[in-house]
């Protein structure tokens, strides 16, 4: 066997591969160099010069303009829709399932899928400019149940967050283990809207969940956490005599913030809070809400346990939260409903509320 010839062949192939790689790399730099592009937002109200080449979502985020998104730019959530009047190019196959005909006519696009390659004209709702980024420190974290953690995140000194009770933030994880990139997910704020130097979150472990696994197994007190927010249109309306609030699991978070908001604002509104759990070990904040009930006669707390164990000595309502809701809410007259929980519970409760005369515009819930 002619080893010299083999070595020569291998060397030649390696050289050719190296040269080709270099050429491809150079070509990418030249062909993908879009230079500086101008983003004209809301008819010239805001103009930004940016380096082209990245997705519109990440380009805007680098300019501190945060569009809601739940999948981190993987085109699986469809939340980062933005109106692009010029400069987006044709609709991409990855966008097609998310943009119906009516939205295509309005030039709606998925910001995570389109690249900034030229000057663009965008329309961005004004409220999104209030969304800010915060580099917080996790100052406390405790187990509320076997699968729900309470987190207290302190803002940097001198910074403040202004949010409406019920709104949510995006929580950004760092790469860990098998997860090689940053992940972000939406979590409702559980703390009082009157507290501006920190926020509190309740995060339930989802088996296989990228972010909840990070929070439950990697994150520790003292760590830095990046957040953006506030987001969302789930917040106190208060145009009613009574608020019917329903939550399950970590869905208690925004309800807690809403309850304190009504109390602190001294609103003349009755509140009834139905909190559903499968077992007694799924309940938490019971003492806190019992105390609120004692201190504030306009608040009624109704924790419901579907299947309590005999040894739990549970004396409260037994059965699904839907049963208590049916029995204890007579009608929807002058009432608003606020719900947060898993989709099955939400849908079942919404059906009951509609049967009782609640109109859709008086039923509020988050869709994430």
């Amino acid at each position: 066997m002619n080893y010299a010839a083999i070595l020569q062949t291998v060397g030649s192939l390696a050289l050719i591969s190296g040269v080709l790689s270099l050429l491809i790399s150079l070509a990418e730099k030249v062909l993908n160099n879009y230079g500086v592009c101008e983003l004209d937002i809301n008819g010239g109200a805001k103009k930004i010069s940016v380096q082209g080449g990245a997705s519109l979502l990440s380009t805007l985020a680098a300019e501190k303009i945060f569009l809601p998104s739940a999948c981190g730019g993987k085109a699986t959530c469809g939340l980062c829709k933005v109106q692009v009047l010029e400069g987006a190019g044709p609709l991409l196959p990855t966008e097609e399932p998310y943009i119906p005909a009516e939205e295509r006519a309005r030039h709606m696009r998925l910001a995570c899928q389109i690249k900034v390659k030229t000057n663009m004209k965008l329309v961005i709702p004004e409220e999104l400019f209030n969304i800010r980024e915060f580099n917080c420190q996790l100052v406390a974290m405790e187990d509320l149940t076997y699968d729900i953690k309470w987190l207290k995140l302190e803002l940097p000194p001198g910074e403040r967050i202004d949010f409406k009770a019920g709104q949510f933030v995006q929580f950004y994880s760092k790469p860990y283990g098998k997860v090689k990139e940053e992940v972000f997910r939406a979590y409702s704020i559980s703390s009082r809207a009157s507290e501006h130097d920190h926020i509190e979150l309740l995060i339930r472990l989802v088996p296989g969940g990228l972010l909840t696994t990070y929070v439950h197994t990697v994150l520790k007190v003292g760590d830095q956490v990046r957040l953006s927010g506030p987001y969302g249109d789930f917040y106190l309306r208060g145009n009613c005599d009574e608020m019917v609030m329903i939550a399950g699991g970590s869905g208690l978070a925004p309800i807690r913030s809403l309850v304190y908001d009504v109390i602190e604002k001294g609103l003349d509104i009755n509140m009834r809070f139905f909190f559903g759990a499968n077992t007694v070990r799924d309940l938490y904040y019971i003492d806190e809400f019992r105390q609120i009930e004692k201190d504030h006669p306009n608040f009624t707390f109704i924790p419901c346990v579907a299947t309590p164990n005999p040894e739990d000595n549970w004396t409260g309502p037994t059965g699904f939260v839907t049963v208590a809701l049916k029995e204890q809410v007579a009608d929807g007259n002058n009432k608003e409903a606020y719900l947060c929980g898993s989709p099955g519970m939400l849908n079942a409760c919404i059906d009951i509320l509609k049967d009782k005369g609640f109109t859709e515009d008086r039923i509020f819930f988050d869709k994430f």
């Binding site: 399932p97 989802v206 579907a306 898993s342 989709p343 099955g344 519970m345």
Partner: protein
């Protein structure tokens, strides 16, 4: 053959740590269409389609949802669905957002199958039972037997 860029992107999104912690592929190195074809062929040998399976699975999940996390009896099965807030996007990017819901079905012999709403959607819409070695893979033939579908299904329409 040069891989299709869309297939490459799909495979990337199915890797561990991208959309779900453990990914959808396990240690299966076959192209995704091949995984789908081979599983469909196994079902075809039993006279079944993915729709035959997914229809029964969907019905069991719906039954389980009536229990809001508590066991529900359905024929010879006990069904429990566990729900979480939020949704999961489909890696095939078809605008299907599956609820974060797991269905655990146990028969009287103690055999058990677990699927998420996303797994069910992947089977129903894409014929994808996931890669060999994936923690979420459902083996089509044992699943068909478990669901008492191993005999050819006569349409009940």
């Amino acid at each position: 053959m040069k891989p299709n860029p869309a297939d490459t992107a799909l495979r990337t999104d199915m890797m561990e740590g991208r959309l779900v912690l453990d990914g959808f592929l396990g240690d299966d190195e076959r192209p995704i269409p091949e995984i789908v074809w081979e599983d469909e062929a196994q079902l075809a040998a039993l006279g079944l389609t993915v729709q035959d399976l997914s229809k029964v699975m969907r019905a069991l999940t719906r039954k389980g949802m009536e229990g809001y996390g508590e066991p529900v009896a359905e024929g010879e099965y006990t069904v429990v669905t566990q729900e979480y807030m939020g949704f999961m996007g489909c890696p095939f990017k078809d605008n299907r957002r599956a609820a974060k819901r797991n269905t655990t079905v146990t028969n009287q012999q103690g055999e058990q199958f677990i699927w998420s709403d996303l797994s069910l959607h992947l089977i129903e819409a894409h014929g994808f039972f996931q890669g060999k070695g994936s923690v979420y893979r459902l083996e089509p033939v044992p699943l068909a037997r478990f669901l008492n579908l191993s005999q050819p299904v006569v349409s009940q329409e």
